[in-house]
Amino acid sequence: MAKVELFVNGRAVTGEAEDRTLLVHFLRENLGLTGTHVGCDTSQCGACVVHVDGRAVKSCTMLAAQASGSTVMTIEGLSANGELHPLQVAFRENHALQCGFCTPGMIMSSADMIRRHPNGLDEATVRAELEGNICRCTGYHNIVKAVLDASDKMSKAAVKAA
């Protein structure tokens, strides 16, 4: 067993986990954060993407023990003070989700994508960057629109703030 200490969605948490426990299972089973999903067993689908120390990580590729000491943000922690993140708004407004299962991972990946492209995104880049996230419902059409929409609004907001 390993002792796991994390700072998750703004809260310090500690727990015990088997050495083999993956971060995703620790989040889901020990912390009850079931917004992070498991859609495959080969680190392909991206339904489990969370942010570890500010970067998008497939939480099925990391042991919980390995993550100990890190700051983790899951989909549950993305909206601040009851206000939805611009990506969450854009996913709804652009009908970028249907069954919702891939959505948390899509949003967490996209948030990281936007962070890495502060000057904006184009369709080809968004499609290429979504390589690690699979959606079976939407055909990606509206997901791409939503990411571009959020990226646009966030870069405009950043310009305004500056």
């Binding site: 339904a47 989909i75 079976r136 419902c137 990606y140 059409h141």
Partner: protein, 781 residues
């Protein structure tokens, strides 16, 4: 239409929970004392099970139970069945082999469940499952359906000699032969419709809870139709009587058909919960999903179409071999028969059609409905052979289709269906205009200068939705009726609950269904809640598949709304001292037409529940139920055009434009309809370009993970150009046809027609991977 009524692009009510991580899927459920299951599955495609030694596994840490098929059988749990009886052309019933939820004496595909292990944690259950010693005596294997019919092929089930489940005919064989004898031109085509794995992103899961005090079972499960699950598990699998079995399907993460069926795991986990005395949860790995979810398609077809000298179709002959896998899944028999051959007339006036379908067992995963279920296979045959014929006849593919369109409705086809409405010219015109079909040759020449092969292909598909008139499907062998139920409950404060037997797995029912009440009473959709997915809350229902939630599910809601409206008007007329006929409900007010007399909606609702002043003899309350049984299928149709560019050096195909013009009848929420089309197109394009399911000769599934099975990713797909035309469906009150499957039905033939046009080789199998396309280019060099 109000801002939230019929036709409005209303944002989805359900989104909030999904975008904040508050969706609740089966694997998110936790109940006190819950333990975890793992299955021991057969590593062999065909073998006798000679012994099972569970002693070591039972001693492993955390293990609570290790249970086998023999114990399951001893407790009287029944075999899994196919619920649609199809008769062979000789009149004999289909030959259904026994399918025990846990294998007892034999296994017939890799992934066949043999033992369930229940332990404290999922990890412990898996460790113990690996310690179970099953001894197998391997048997010869057959994975290809055509090979399985040959003399000397390995036999799967004693019930089905030659592995033949049925040999079924539809249409007039003699009339069709006569038509061919007089034909001026005959086009022939051999095609394979590739096997697909549905791959809903949420893997299947189930949580079985037995309450010994009440002798009652609760089953949380990933189901498109929880009531059908309860009915089947109760009536056929002997799990428990219906009043002792509650089935709950919470949020369901996609289905595409694969979550219609009642699988072994649900039955076993319920039984195991009783046997071990603890709640038992199982959630599939993706690899388990690949191995043990029902697959789709897998047809091999020879088709011939005959034309007269004016290029009018005079006849169509189709012979199909359908691979059913190792067992008959719940609705498997209906897919390559009544959902396939009945659509072979396409959008065309064809006087004579004859189809023969042979259904065959093989040592592969069971095959059943997957998005479109039979209709994509039919469209692929019809639209590939039409395009091929146009090339042979040296006429425009668009004009050959146009020449043969059905234009008068109702139209009785020679293969059962009566098309009730459509305008195939309208969708063809819309699509060809949007795609600039006429200007294509210029684009082809321009691409050639860049060294690229450019091609264009279309498909003019029709499908049957709104499944289905109960008496009609009953006469064709269905074991169930295919109506839908609804209940509309107006609360005393005027808010509304709509209970429905449909169940969303991504389609946005919580929004679309609420729009019906918003339209009817002018109330905001936030005051309308949809209740679904729980057999304790909704009395009965037939679930969501075959694009039936709109045409059938919503029609039931409309019927219930009619009754509620009628009663509300009676109450209002009484309170306002007016004639009932003069009462109208608008914008949340109940008014006497032409006067300023009105009551807010909630006051009418409140009056129904205070019952202080109701019309004489009226019962209190404002709640009505309805069952709706459709009078016909509905017939969405459309025209899809795909344009591709191929790199001849690598065989890589790029879709440079995809246009879909569809006629779905009346549309409640265009935003949701467009989303359904996008998703369907992605799955159809996935089938055409990427998704291949491969078993090796020993029956091992080579494509059992996302490392091997190519799911469409964002980069593989273009943005789509989708549009709709409208002919109102006359057979349901909303005029709806349905939109869930169209994308997956129309797109594969359009893509393959485009590629074959580009490379000038019509002999191309799906998925048209770069390797296959490159080889096809070389073959005609």
């Amino acid at each position: 239409m109000g801002v939230e009524g019929i036709g409005a692009r209303v944002l989805r009510k359900e989104d909030k929970r999904f975008i904040t991580g508050k969706g609740r899927y089966t694997d998110d459920m936790v109940v006190p004392g819950m333990k975890h299951a793992a299955f021991v599955r057969s590593p062999h495609a065909h073998a006798k099970v000679t012994s099972i030694d569970a002693e070591a596994a039972k001693k492993m840490p955390g293990v609570i139970g290790v249970l086998t098929g023999k114990e399951l059988k001893a407790d009287g749990i029944g075999n899994l069945i196919c619920g649609w009886m199809v008769h062979s052309k000789d009149g004999s019933p289909m030959k259904m082999g026994a399918w025990s939820p846990l294998a007892t004496d034999a296994v017939r595909y890799v992934g066949d469940a043999v033992v369930i292990v229940v332990a404290d944690t999922k990890g412990q259950a898996r460790d113990a499952a690996e310690a179970v010693e099953v001894t197998y005596e391997e048997l010869p294997v057959v994975v290809n359906a055509v090979a399985a019919m040959k003399q000397g092929a390995p036999q799967l089930h004693p019930e089905a000699s030659g592995n033949l489940i049925f040999d079924w005919d539809l249409g007039d064989e003699k009339a069709t032969s006569d038509a061919f004898a007089k034909a001026a031109h005959v086009t022939k085509l051999d095609i394979v419709n590739n096997r697909l794995v549905p791959n809903a992103m949420e893997p299947r899961a189930t949580l079985g809870v037995y309450d010994a005090a009440e002798d009652h079972f609760t089953c949380w499960t990933t189901s498109q139709n929880p009531h059908v699950a309860r009915l089947v598990m109760s009536a056929f699998y002997n799990v428990a009587p219906e009043n002792k079995l509650r089935v709950i399907a919470p949020d369901v993460g996609g289905g595409f058909g694969s979550k219609i069926f009642i699988y072994p795991e649900e039955v076993i986990c319920l039984w195991a919960s009783k046997k071990t005395g603890v709640p038992v949860k199982w959630a599939a790995d993706r690899s388990e999903s690949f191995l043990a979810d029902a697959h789709g398609r897998d047809h091999a077809t020879h088709a011939e179409i005959a034309f007269d000298k004016d290029n009018r179709i005079v006849g169509l002959k189709v012979q199909t071999v359908a691979n059913f896998g190792a067992y008959m899944s719940l609705f498997s028999s209906s897919v390559p028969t009544y959902l396939y051959a009945t659509l072979l007339s396409g959008q065309y006036d064809i006087p004579a059609i004859h189809a023969n379908v042979k259904a065959v067992y093989t040592n592969t995963a069971p095959v059943d409905a997957y998005r479109g279920a039979g209709r994509p296979e039919a469209s692929f045959v019809v639209e590939r052979i039409m395009e091929t014929a146009a090339r042979e006849l040296k006429v425009s593919p668009a004009e050959l289709r146009r020449k043969n369109f059905i234009r008068s409705f109702p139209h009785q086809t020679p293969v059962i269906m009566t098309y009730d409405a459509g305008d195939f010219d309208a969708t063809l015109d819309a699509a060809t205009k949007a795609a600039d079909y006429a200007g294509f040759e210029k684009r082809r020449d321009e691409a050639a200068k860049r060294g690229k092969l450019r091609g264009i292909g279309m498909s003019c598909y029709i499908e049957a939705c709104g499944i289905a008139p109960s008496a009609a499907v009953g006469s064709l062998g269905a074991g169930v009726g295919l109506w839908e139920s609804a209940e509309v409950r107006v609360n005393a404060v005027g808010t509304i609950e709509i209970l429905t037997g449909s169940h969303s797995h991504g389609q946005g029912h919580e929004t679309t269904f609420a729009q019906l009440a918003a339209e009817r009473f002018g109330v905001p959709i936030d005051s309308v809640s949809i209740v679904h997915g729980d057999t304790d809350k909704v009395q009965m229902g037939m679930g969501t598949y075959g694009s039936r939630s709109g045409a059938v599910g919503m029609s039931a809601i409309v019927k219930a709304l009619d009754k509620v409206e009628a009663k509300a008007k009676k109450i209002a007329a009484h309170l306002l001292e007016a004639d009932e006929a003069d009462i109208e409900i608008k914008n949340g007010d109940v008014k006497v037409a032409g006067t300023d007399k009105s009551l807010p909606w909630f006051q009418v609702a409140l009056a129904a529940y205070t019952a202080h002043n109701l019309p004489s003899g009226m019962e209190p309350g404002l709640k009505e139920g309805a069952f709706y049984d459709p009078s016909n299928f509905t017939f969405p149709g459309g025209c899809h055009i795909c344009e591709v560019e191929i790199d001849p050096d690598t065989g890589t195909t790029e879709i440079v434009q995809f246009v879909a013009a569809d006629d779905f009848g009346k549309i409640i929420n265009p935003m949701i309809v467009e989303g359904q089309v996008h998703g369907g197109l992605a799955q159809g394009i996935g089938q055409a370009l990427l998704e291949g399911t491969h078993y090796d000769d020993s029956g091992q599934l080579l494509t059992a993970s996302y490392m091997d099975y190519t799911m469409p990713r964002a980069q593989n797909l273009p943005s789509f150009n989708v549009m709709t035309t409208e002919t109102v469906c006359p057979s349901n009150p909303l005029g709806i046809k349905g939109c869930g499957e169209a994308g997956a039905i129309g797109s594969p033939p359009a893509v393959i027609n485009a590629i074959t046009d580009a490379i000038h080789n019509n002999d191309l199998t799906m998925p048209a991977t770069p390797q296959i396309v490159w080889a096809a280019i070389q073959a005609v060099k």
